[in-house]
């Protein structure tokens, strides 16, 4: 007997999938989610354990190619300047994200109008602000209202800011002297008990899973509630393709279960929430006679315009013991001093800076970011100079869209289910290189003013593709965009994409808060238009 189709099938149980699932379940929709990863228990996270700095370079690497867990799919990244990073699990890449939660700025939505390059978004900051405020409450954001980097007004984060630490205080004082902007970083990490979760303990191991449950991820913040309202979450489910009918509507997904059997999940509406690489891969896989170039791809833009935020790390060394191995790995403070375009600098757009902890002694000896290895008689001095005595500015530069930066399907590599793996083609642009050079110089100035006696730079980190954006952009014109302003496919009226694929431009900030806000906005639209929604017969 044929299965009744769910009202909505979501592919991916990460940030955006969790937000949409909860909103729709609250509105009474029947929701099914297919997630290729599994649930993680907090006891599995290695932060409190002695092997933390060992396993973070393998089993808990942020790169699926390094980690190579059974639920990961490999990436062919031979043609990419930056390695994409992600995690497959309930909660998605939030399990391993830092937790930084800045919003995009008003100018980020108007890059074409302001700077004559790239494109404008089909919505504004003011339109998205109410959704930022709602998702801040859902995830439990700690921060301080009143930041003059944003328009005044609106609702404050629900929790006070996390500590800025000794390093953050030093740099804040320096910026006060220089007249440069700084502000306590908003983080999706609890500074106080909230929603049944415990607060942060400043362990500094956020990127290998939060053992306290203080860092937000949808396995904690959304899925238990959505499941309580009737949503069904299937783990170990690897989606092979979406199916569609002769009326141009998607009918569900073909997927492979954890025993290797192929199954079909019918649905009235499908929502893709599999990140900008996984979603593009799935749309490109869903070819048939009517869609020879992939589903929802009449524009030819599916997979194109991949943006990953070229990243530089600038580390200052101080005489003072800053205990810089502790503190939230989401950032302590941020600066938007040089975020906005100044064409005299020789590039457009800018970067957000975030000050972060610096790991333990193993990272001091074998630096994974800026710095060198020193062996022999000077080794001990080198480690002592770095351990606990460093402050790192992480610089996220705005990554302008380029159609040649793209995700395609590998003709030679597949996962063990035989599904072609994504092939990543990505070059860092000249604008990005100039942008990073400028910001590295300014961040070095910041650290020297703060008292650093030396500054070390990692100019373009290879393993820095945390932010996967742009491969199914929004827009008002179906010829030049994949999705409409509500994240719905122009081509397939019962198909939504709610992850970072939808981004028109990248902004220069950590994007998860914007992904979550956009997903909630799309879900609200689904609820509001539920009676007008076209569905398969």
């Amino acid at each position: 007997m044929a299965k009744d189709p769910a009202d909505v099938l979501i592919v991916g149980a990460g940030a955006s999938g969790g937000v949409v699932a909860l909103r729709l379940a609250e509105a009474g929709f029947s929701v099914v989610c297919l997630e290729q990863g599994r649930w993680y228990d907090r006891g599995e996270f290695r932060g409190p354990e002695l092997d933390w700095e060992l396993t973070m370079r393998k089993q808990w690497s942020t790169s699926p190619n390094v980690r190579a867990l059974p639920q990961d799919y490999p990436l062919d990244e031979a043609d990419a300047d930056i390695s994409p990073l992600m995690f497959s699990a309930v909660g998605g890449s939030m399990i391993i994200f830092a937790g930084a939660w800045p919003r995009m700025l008003p100018s980020d939505f108007r890059v074409r109008s302001l700077d004559g390059i790239a494109d404008d978004w089909p919505l504004t900051y003011e339109e998205l602000r109410p959704y930022y405020e709602r998702t801040d409450r859902q995830f439990g954001v700690s921060g301080m209202g009143g930041d003059p980097a944003y328009p005044p007004g609106g609702e404050d984060p629900p929790l006070p800011p996390l500590p800025v630490g000794k390093g953050g205080l030093r740099v804040a004082r320096a910026h006060a002297r220089m007249g440069w902007h700084w502000w306590p970083e908003p983080n999706a990490i609890l500074s106080a008990p909230y929603d049944g979760r415990r607060p942060c303990v400043q362990r500094g191991t956020c990127q290998q899973g939060c053992s306290e449950g203080a860092k937000a991820s949808t396995d904690l913040t959304h899925w238990p509630k959505a499941i309580g309202l009737g949503a069904r979450l299937v783990t170990g489910a690897r989606v092979r393709r979406l199916e569609s009918n002769g009326k141009g509507l998607v009918t569900g997904a073909t997927w492979i279960d954890d025993a290797g059997a192929e199954r079909f999940e019918p649905a009235k509406v499908v929502v893709l929430a599999a990140n900008a690489i996984g979603t593009a891969r799935l749309l490109l896989l869903s070819t048939d006679d009517r869609h020879p170039d992939g589903l929802a791809n009449s524009s030819g833009l599916v997979g194109r315009r991949l943006m990953m935020h070229p990243f530089a790390n600038v580390g200052g060394l101080f005489d003072e013991d800053l205990e810089s191995w502790q503190g939230q790995f989401g950032c302590s403070i941020e600066s938007f001093e040089f975020y906005e375009t100044d064409e005299r600098r020789g590039f457009v757009r800018g970067a957000k800076w975030g000050l972060a902890p610096t790991f333990g002694p193993i990272n001091a000896a074998l630096p994974s970011r800026a710095g060198t290895q020193v062996w022999g008689p000077e080794h001990h001095l080198h480690v002592k100079r770095h351990l606990g005595r460093a402050a790192n500015w992480g610089l996220f530069g705005e990554d302008l869209p380029d159609e040649s930066n793209r995700v395609t399907l590998s003709p030679t590599m597949a996962d063990s289910s035989g599904i072609p793996t994504p092939e990543i083609h990505y070059r860092v642009s000249e604008n990005s290189r100039r942008l990073l050079d400028f910001h590295i110089e300014k961040a070095s100035e910041s650290l020297r003013e703060a008292g650093a006696y030396a500054v070390e730079v990692d100019r373009l980190m290879r393993y820095s593709g945390w932010h996967l954006l742009g491969t199914a952009r929004m827009g008002d014109d179906p010829r030049t965009s994949v999705l409409d302003r509500w994240n719905r496919s122009h081509d397939v009226p019962n198909l939504y994409v709610v992850d970072g694929s939808a981004f028109v431009t990248s902004g220069g900030v950590n994007p998860t808060s914007s992904i979550a806000a956009l997903a909630l906005r799309a879900a609200d639209h689904m609820v509001a238009t539920r009676f007008d929604q076209q569905v398969p017969a």
């Binding site: 059974p70 301080m144 009143g146 004082r173 006060a176 170990g236 502790q326 002694p361 022999g376 597949a414």
Partner: protein, 194 residues
Amino acid sequence: MTADPIARPIAVPPAIPAATPASAETDPVAPLDPAARAVLAAVADHLIPAGHGMPSAATVVGDTRLRFVLAARPDLLQPLLAALRPGLGDGSPGGRLAALEAEGDHLAALQQVVVFAYYTDRDVRERLGYPGQMAKTLYSWKVPDFIEEGLIDQVLARGAVWRDPATGRRADVPASAYEAHDAGPAADRRGEPS
């Protein structure tokens, strides 16, 4: 972590299980014969000699530490054995390391094993003053130093730093429009996220 039975990806190395306690049958240091251990000790001392109040790596990197490292990172065993194989280089630790420059994965494994073993030793960490990644209690009701020192006030006094899309210029918003605030004492707002 438990291996997921879902189909394993190809073209990348197989999954590595999390650290498990060593047993007599699965002792991870068993593949290291006396010759390999001697080479490892010599290289360890070359990389991290005694000095500046710290012990040499050879005195620290014994079976206990190696067992810990290879249990947590079994993927390192084979490249480590390759890096320790007889006949590599001119017989000196420096010569071996120089020869390994052409074998990046083997060199990296050797360095990692030495560093991982050394810096997970209790005495070494105590000498460095590193207690590990500790759990600390947050007192979110305390007024932060940056408020007490007036550092936030200085940021606010400068006014808006965002670019207004309507004009293309820095927003014309008076500094008085901004006021720093958080949501107040934590006890007032436990558990209402919606």
